[in-house]
């Protein structure tokens, strides 16, 4: 009975086109994914995304050049929910879409500064781990975090967990870097004053566009030991190739959904880029406590430049893609 039914199901699938196979919806050339409204506002303004559509309860902002943007909401659950709604919507055709995840982040002062914009090669999950409070962890440990199922912080991440690490497409990454290298970044006096507390570059220098990598966790960690853990964990998860610089609260969840969507034929994971701009330092300057660094981060001046640099840095790539679609429609040039 069951076998017969399943055969009939297969026959029925063949006899009528399934809805939502990515061909009936609005074809999008670039989809920018932001996480909260302030990010969205600057992006929507930059690209003139005044044409709104509603997709499964989400507002998607688009323009006539097929550039669209969505705000997922903050944290893993919202990022996954919104990205899923987008990816499987019959109202959108994302099969040739370039996805640019664009959000603000904390930056490791060893790798960047307030306002720095980083295109990621790797996105590593920080939060999926064991943790023992550092005051009662085994002697000699550098921090209380370690991989689930492992014996301690010096063990590599477990290999049986989906989503520990994502690698972004290298051709698209290089194209994004090349396009945005000369962008004049926004800065302000408060951010400059905060930077001056740091003794060395790049933390005490003006912001630049750079390449370094992202870790994600619902938990917004800060301070020396936890930044060290982000550095170590990124290296361990990427075979030493990744360099932690930006910490955010969504990317691993967003990328998990996009990767699954690619496997389902809804989009092309080679067309996903990840951009984070620094709103705050993830570690304090010498003489500043971890707590003071974290509590002072809101007044450190980095929020406005990070928000403004987000669309400024994304724009050259986005513009190139839509202006030269004939060159990009079959994949990033050089791929």
């Amino acid at each position: 009975m069951k076998v017969i039914l399943l055969a009939l199901v297969a026959a029925a699938c063949g006899s009528s086109p399934a809805p939502g196979t990515g061909n009936g919806g609005r074809a999008v050339k670039v989809m920018l994914i932001d996480m909260f409204n302030q990010e969205g506002t600057t992006v929507v303004g930059q690209f003139g995304l005044t044409d709104n559509m509603t997709v499964a309860g989400l507002t998607v902002h688009c323009n006539k050049r097929d550039i669209c943007e969505v705000v997922t909401g903050m944290g893993y659950a919202n990022a996954a929910a919104s990205t899923t709604a987008l990816v499987y919507s019959p109202d959108l055709d994302l099969t040739k879409t370039y996805v640019v995840i664009a959000g603000i982040a904390g930056v490791d002062p060893a790798m960047g500064t307030l306002g720095t914009a980083a295109w990621a090669r790797y996105a590593v999950d920080f939060g999926y781990a064991n943790e023992i409070d550092a005051r009662e962890m085994p002697t000699g440990w550098p921090y209380g975090y370690f991989g689930i199922g492992t014996t301690g912080p010096s063990d590599p991440p477990p290999t049986d967990h989906e989503g520990t690490m994502f690698q972004l497409d290298e051709h698209l990454l290089q194209a994004a870097l090349a396009a945005s290298q000369g962008v004049a970044l926004t800065d302000n006096a408060t951010a400059a004053a905060t930077r001056a507390h740091y003794p060395s570059a790049p933390a005490n220098q003006p912001p630049t566009v750079t390449q370094c990598d992202v870790v994600s966790s619902d938990t917004w960690f800060a301070g020396g030991p936890l930044s060290q853990r982000a550095h170590d964990w990124t290296a361990a998860a990427t075979g030493g190739a990744g360099h932690f610089c930006m910490s955010g609260q969504e990317d691993s969840a967003t990328l998990e959904v996009l990767e699954r969507g690619a496997e389902a034929g809804r989009l092309d994971f080679h067309r996903v880029a990840l951009l984070r701009t620094a709103s705050d330092f993830s570690a304090p300057y010498p003489g500043q406590t971890d707590a003071d660094g974290l509590l002072g981060s809101l007044d450190a001046g980095g929020l406005q430049p990070s928000l403004q640099n987000l669309p400024l840095v994304a724009a050259p790539l986005v513009t190139e893609i839509v202006n030269d679609w004939a060159k990009w429609q079959d994949g990033a040039p050089g791929a």
Partner: protein, 341 residues
């Protein structure tokens, strides 16, 4: 002929509550009565056997480790989301936003193994969850350099101390489970005889708290969710204070696990999009371990110890939750309207 066969087939599929992407995705689907949600295939296995879940429905976007929803002829289904918030949220969103299943009147039975606070209960116990609080959405610094007066390195985002309040709202920080649904589920479970094991008995005997040393029971309590699977007394104390704060003192921290707020968060989002009724979610935990060490043990040794309770906890989870599922099926016309009195 083709048309007749297709009509018959749709009727047959409706009876089995599965669909083959019908022409009218709303009208042609039969409503799913209950969806059991576990984090891992191991946790789901006893349900698969108990509920005879032999119909697999693949939905794009599910976890590679569990790529199809399993259903039975009574329109009861189950899924393992994959561990952690990202996989749980991605999987449940894929199912909830899909037009493959009609989940608009479905009851969601979220059933997890969890670690339990030994000052509240013991291993192999069953916990009917009153509140799910996200312990991971927070600021954190390493606990060795805390300002004077801070008890923990975790604090609400944009707050000035661990006891401060966050002005930022993600929307997934706290979910209260419908009391009427909990009460009905508990009543249906009745006086379940909970399983235990000699190994679990021996392990809990090393604790000094009377609540930890007692035999397994069914209790009410709040849960804390985090991808970061913390362990030890200090982070346990923090979880207690955090749950107390986010529930306004109404929830008592009892268990911890890695997925509930992601699942409930996605259900809330899908409800806003008209795909599900998020008030029809119930959360049941069974304790396979403690969340912290006993007095003569380190936090690390406790984390790595075998508490001996995994098998009885799994059995008790199904024993406590399956009467609810059975009643939803048996009295569906009533349940479809809402939780029966």
């Amino acid at each position: 002929m083709v048309r007749a066969m297709r009509t018959w087939m749709l009727a047959a599929l409706a009876a089995l509550s599965i669909s083959a992407k019908p022409a009218d995705p709303v009208r042609d689907r039969a409503p799913i009565k209950a969806l059991v949600i576990a984090a891992t295939p191991e946790e789901l296995q006893p349900w698969i056997a108990k509920l005879s879940l032999s119909i697999a429905i693949s939905i794009p976007g599910m976890a590679a480790s569990f790529p199809a929803v399993l259903c039975n002829a009574d329109a009861v289904c189950a899924v393992a989301t994959g561990p952690g918030k990202a996989s749980a949220a991605a999987t449940i969103a894929a199912i909830a936003y899909s037009s493959d299943l009609d989940l608009r009147s479905t009851y969601f039975v979220i059933a997890d193994l969890a670690r339990i606070d030994p000052t509240v209960g013991t291993t192999a116990s069953v916990v009917w969850v009153t509140d799910a609080v996200d312990a991971g959405i927070a600021w954190e610094i390493d606990a060795r350099t805390l300002p004077t007066g801070w008890m923990t390195g975790y604090l609400p985002i944009d707050a000035m101390s661990p006891t401060g309040h966050s002005p930022v709202t993600f929307g997934t920080e706290h979910f209260a489970i419908a009391p009427a649904l909990i009460a009905k589920a508990r009543a249906l479970a009745g006086p379940v005889t909970l399983q235990d094991s000699p190994a679990a008995m021996a392990y809990r005997a090393m604790y000094s708290e009377p609540t930890a040393m007692a035999t397994p029971t069914m209790l009410l309590g709040a849960t804390a969710t985090s991808d970061t699977y913390w362990h030890g007394a200090l982070l346990g104390h923090r979880a207690h204070a955090w749950v107390d704060q986010l529930t306004g003192g109404t929830g008592t921290y009892t268990t911890m696990q890695q997925t509930d707020n992601a699942v409930l968060g996605v259900l809330a989002r899908a409800a806003a999009a008209g795909m599900v009724d998020a008030t029809r979610a119930v959360v049941i935990h069974a304790a396979w371990h403690f969340d912290r060490q006993h007095a003569s043990q380190t936090a690390y040794d406790s984390l790595r110890a075998d508490a001996g309770a995994r098998a009885p906890a799994l059995a008790n989870l199904v024993a406590a939750g399956s009467p609810l599922v059975a009643d939803i099926v048996a009295s569906w016309p009533a349940w479809q309207m809402g939780v029966p009195p």
